[in-house]
Each structure stands twice: as C-alpha cells, then as structure tokens.
C-alpha cells in the first residue's frame, strides 16, 4: 500500500515537473528540454527513492541542468527564491550546472568530465573504507568522448563497486541519431570489467529496484529513454535538443502532459 502511494507520488512529481519544465524553458528561452525530459524520471527516482546522505550524484550531461534544478527545487535543496530567478538577469542558474549552487557537485557543461570526477570520489571512498555510492548520469552521445572511456577503464581497473553510471539512452546526440550505438557502449564497459544492464528509463519501479543494486565491480545501466518524453509533440524529435516552447505552445503542451 505504501509502495503504491509512493509510486503514485513519483508519477505525480514527474507530471508536475514536466509541466514546470515546459513553462521554465519557454520563459527562460533555454534549450535542451528534450534532454531534460529523457532523464527526468531517472533523476526523480534517484532523489526521491535512492540517494542517501552518503551518496553522490553527478549530472555529467550538464545540458540537462534545468531538470536537475527542478528536482533539487522539488527536494527543497534549491530554494524558491533561487529557483524563481531562472532565466532572469543576475540569476545564478545557468543553462549548464553552475558550481557553487547547493546540490550541484560539478560544473559539467562540457561532456566527458563527470565519470572521471565520480571515479575520483568513489576511489577516495574506497581507499578510506567510507560509505556511499556515486551515481553519474551520462548522455549516450557522451560515451564518444575519449575521457569517458578513460574513466571507464580506470573505474574497471580499480574495481570501483561504489560507482554507478547511468546512460540516458535517448538515441539522439545534438545533431544526429546517436552515432555510436548503445550496444557498442555496453560491450566496451563489459570488456572494461563493469557489470552492465539495460533497463527501462521511464519505469519508476524498474529504475528504483535496479539503481539500488551495486556489485563488486562498477555498474553501468543503459536506460532506454525517449527524447522529450511526456510531451507528445516533442517525443523522439531532434529539434527539441535546441528549441524552447513558444508562449502559444506552452498551454497546448502542458494540457497534453499526463
């Protein structure tokens, strides 16, 4: 019974934040709403069901910062006052994560940085025998960065069982369908000594039960997601990596979000 309520709550948060993001992106005229919506359910699951006080989360695909801000605001980590400034002159909240905002671990506006930082945190914890798991959310395109693959090898070599990477596999990168398929990415991580698994990226129950699991090796989840998930006009359309909804579109889109 409790579980059902929680699941309903997660779904309600998903709906609420999707509506909010449509409005925020429109008001702020900021890009990347498609990416926000593909990884939103992963972040909701992490922040509302998985992360404990010793855990860390790094949004390596920093272009989804508005989704992270929305989740951190919903959690009460970013205040109403700060959140209310989004898109206004003088705001701290950039379109990519800004270092110094409470709850932001790293400034990941450039792809290919987050997994190394996460590996460093995980290694320090392992060396000290301290508790906590480090979660890093990657984009599927980001796995083309050599530095991501360097971090993959390092974490595999050092058997960082306290490191979990999640690929938001929305099958798009900025200007194409994802060039290197996630099946190849999964093989590479497998070979590097990771435990890997494909999971559905918009199913809260599946997300929670998988993301809670760690192993002796670092873990990679390829989360199958949909760019623009939840706003039918945006789903699986590359243009929503760039566009922000017009004023006229906002009402229409919000109405359609279930």
């Amino acid at each position: 019974m409790m579980k059902m309520t929680s699941l309903q709550e997660l779904k309600a948060i998903g709906t609420e934040l999707r509506k909010e993001l449509v409005v925020k992106h429109s008001e702020a005229k900021m890009a990347h709403i498609g990416s926000d919506l593909s990884c939103l359910d992963i972040m909701i699951t992490l922040y509302f069901r998985v992360l404990g006080k010793d855990d860390h989360f790094i949004l390596s695909k920093g272009h989804a910062a508005l989704a992270l801000y929305a989740v951190l605001h919903k959690k009460g980590i970013i205040t109403d006052q700060v959140y209310g400034t989004l898109g206004k002159n003088g705001s701290m909240l950039g379109e990519h994560p800004i270092y110094g905002i409470k709850g932001i671990e790293a400034a990941t506006g450039s792809l290919g940085h987050g997994l190394s930082i996460g590996a460093g945190i995980a290694l320090a914890k392992k060396l000290d025998g301290s508790k906590g798991t480090v979660y890093v959310l990657l984009s599927d395109g980001e796995c083309q960065e050599g530095s991501t693959l360097e971090a993959m090898n390092f974490a595999g070599l050092h058997k960082l069982g306290n490191l979990v990477a999640i690929v938001d596999s929305n099958k798009f990168q900025a200007y194409d369908r994802t060039l290197i398929p996630d099946s190849q990415v999964q093989k590479e991580f497998d070979t590097a000594g990771w435990t890997t698994k494909r999971i559905p990226g918009h199913d809260f129950i599946e997300l929670e039960s998988n993301l809670r699991k760690t192993s002796a090796a670092p873990t990679l989840y390829i989360a199958d997601t949909v760019l623009g998930k939840g706003v039918s006009d945006m789903e699986d359309k590359l243009e929503w990596h760039y566009k922000s909804p017009t004023k006229e579109q906002v009402d229409e889109f919000v109405k359609k979000i279930k």
Partner: protein, 307 residues
C-alpha cells in the same frame, strides 16, 4: 628538482602515516621510473595510466573527498592535454589539486618540440584561482613543498629535471607570492623566473665585476599571483630593466605591465622565440642558439648601458 620533489613528498606521506592519516596521494600518468619507487612502497601511489584527462578528473573527485592529491606528468601532457579538465574540474571549484609538471622550458632539450613547454607559464597563468610556481633550484622546490599546504586552491608547480644546481641561500625567506631579491644593485634590474635565474645571476656577476653594485636580480618564483609591486619598486630609478625566462614572453609581458608608466628605463627581454624548436641538443646549447647564453645576455645589456 624531480628527486627533491619525490623526497619531500615522501616526508609528508611518512609524517601522515605516523599519525594514521591518509590524505596525501601521488598520482602519475605512467611516469616516475627511478624517482617514485619509495613513494610506491608507502602505498600512496596511483598509476593513472596513459590517460591524463581522466587523471585530472579523478584528482578533482578525490580532492572533493578531502584528499591532498599531487598529480605528476611531463608538462605538455599534464597541462595541455588536460586543459579543460583543469579549468572546469580543478580551477572552477577551486580544489587543492597539486599539478606537478616536469621538463619546464627546454629541460627536455633533446626530446623534441612536443616535450618543450615554452608557453606553460602563459597557459597556467590564464586560469582563474591557479597558483603558479616556477622554482629556480631544488632548494626552492623543497621550500615550496613546505609552503604549499598554506594554499587552499590549485597549484601548478613546474619542475626542470634533475641535477639543477642550488643558486642561492635565501630559501628560508621564501613566501608564495613574494618576489625574491637575490642581488641588490643600482642601475640594471634583471627579473628572472625558473632555471634561467642561473643565467641572470651569472650576468649580474659579470656586470658587477666591471662596475661594482650596478646589477640587481629579482627572482619571480611565484608566477601567479605575480608580485608586480616588488618589480615596480625595484625598477624605479634603474636605467635598464631586463627579463629572462624559458618561455615565449610570459615574464616579459608581466614585467612590462608592472613597470608601465615608469618613464626612465630601457626595457629588454630575453625569451624563447614564438616557434617550435627544430634543433636538438643540450639545453645550454639551445639557449646559446637562441641568444640566451650568459655572454650574449651580458653583451646586450652592456651595449644598452654604453649607449
């Protein structure tokens, strides 16, 4: 300088281990043969492999968790390959990661232009929150290893190689961010950084043996923050201000800005040309080839004095 660094780091680690602490680590980009074996034995050494970008990111993560990480490689691999990681993951969050690079200037003289960081001072200087240390001799490295715990943010420490001579006895009065006056004089100010401070001292010696007390030497061991005030006040009343560096004008620019508006001096710089090195040889040979041997520097300053 490398052996001094290794020895001093070993002391820091041994002291920590005596207190049952494990803060300080050395991470290397697959380098350190016959230099880091003793540190390896302490268990505080990580070979990050041939993957420098990841090495910097890992150091950032470790520093976030309270570790004191020294990251070591040859300067171009340490500082150029990884520029964005250093910028975004170390400097932006102002983390105490210690970047220790070997082969400053033409130290790897016969290794080819890929190994010659002739612009490292400019590159490191360009990064907000970075402290840039450019020692002239091994005892300065030793002093820095004691002093750097006082620096909260990132540090770039540029080392030459091994076998560099000790140049002076003022190491006890070193402070990060403060220029060091090595020789006091009345007419000619020579400002130097790094191992070419040796040349500066030799030239000052030659000038002073001809006309006692005319040449002054100020050493910039901390390139950032740059002690403009010390340079400017030393330049006041001098006839000539000269700079000497193993970069392509990093020091020249800083000194020129520092003395801007002072009218009376002639300004001359000794620097490496803005080009890739196409010749191989000892570093002394290369400096001579670029007109930076002690005799060349002396003659040109003397020529200005006699004008």
């Amino acid at each position: 300088m490398r052996n001094t660094f290794s020895r001093e780091l070993l002391k820091i680690i041994a002291e920590e281990q005596g207190r049952n602490e494990s803060r300080t680590w050395l991470m290397s980009g697959d380098l350190g043969f016959s230099a880091f074996e003793a540190i390896r034995e302490t268990g505080r050494f990580i070979n990050a492999g041939i993957s420098e970008q990841n090495m910097i990111g890992v150091a950032s993560g470790m520093a976030k968790e309270g570790k004191n990480v020294f990251v070591y490689s040859i300067i171009p691999f340490l500082l150029y390959r990884t520029f964005e990681q250093i910028r975004n993951d170390v400097c932006y969050p102002n983390l105490p990661v210690r970047l220790v690079g070997t082969g400053a200037g033409l130290s790897y003289s016969d290794a080819g232009a890929t190994h010659h960081p002739l612009e490292d001072l400019k590159v490191a200087d360009s990064l907000p929150s970075m402290t840039v240390l450019s020692p002239s001799d091994p005892k300065e490295v030793e002093a820095f290893m004691r002093l750097l715990k006082g620096v909260k943010g990132p540090i770039y420490l540029r080392l030459a190689r091994n076998g560099d001579p000790v140049l002076h006895d003022r190491h006890g009065s070193m402070a990060i961010g403060k220029a060091l006056r090595l020789v006091k004089g009345s007419k000619v100010l020579i400002v130097s950084t790094g191992i070419v401070t040796k040349t500066a001292l030799e030239v000052a010696g030659m000038l002073n043996s001809e006309d006692d007390g005319i040449a002054e030497v100020i050493e910039i061991h901390t390139f950032k923050p740059f002690d403009s005030e010390a340079v400017r006040s030393a330049a006041k009343g001098k006839d000539i201000v000269a700079t000497i560096e193993d970069n392509t004008g990093a020091l020249e620019n800083k000194v020129a800005v520092s003395i801007a508006g002072l009218q009376e001096q002639k300004f001359i710089s000794f620097k490496l040309p803005d080009q890739f090195t196409h010749i191989s040889g000892t570093k002394e040979y290369l400096f001579e080839a670029y007109g930076m041997g002690p005799r060349d520097v002396f003659n040109r300053i003397k020529g200005l004095l006699d004008e």
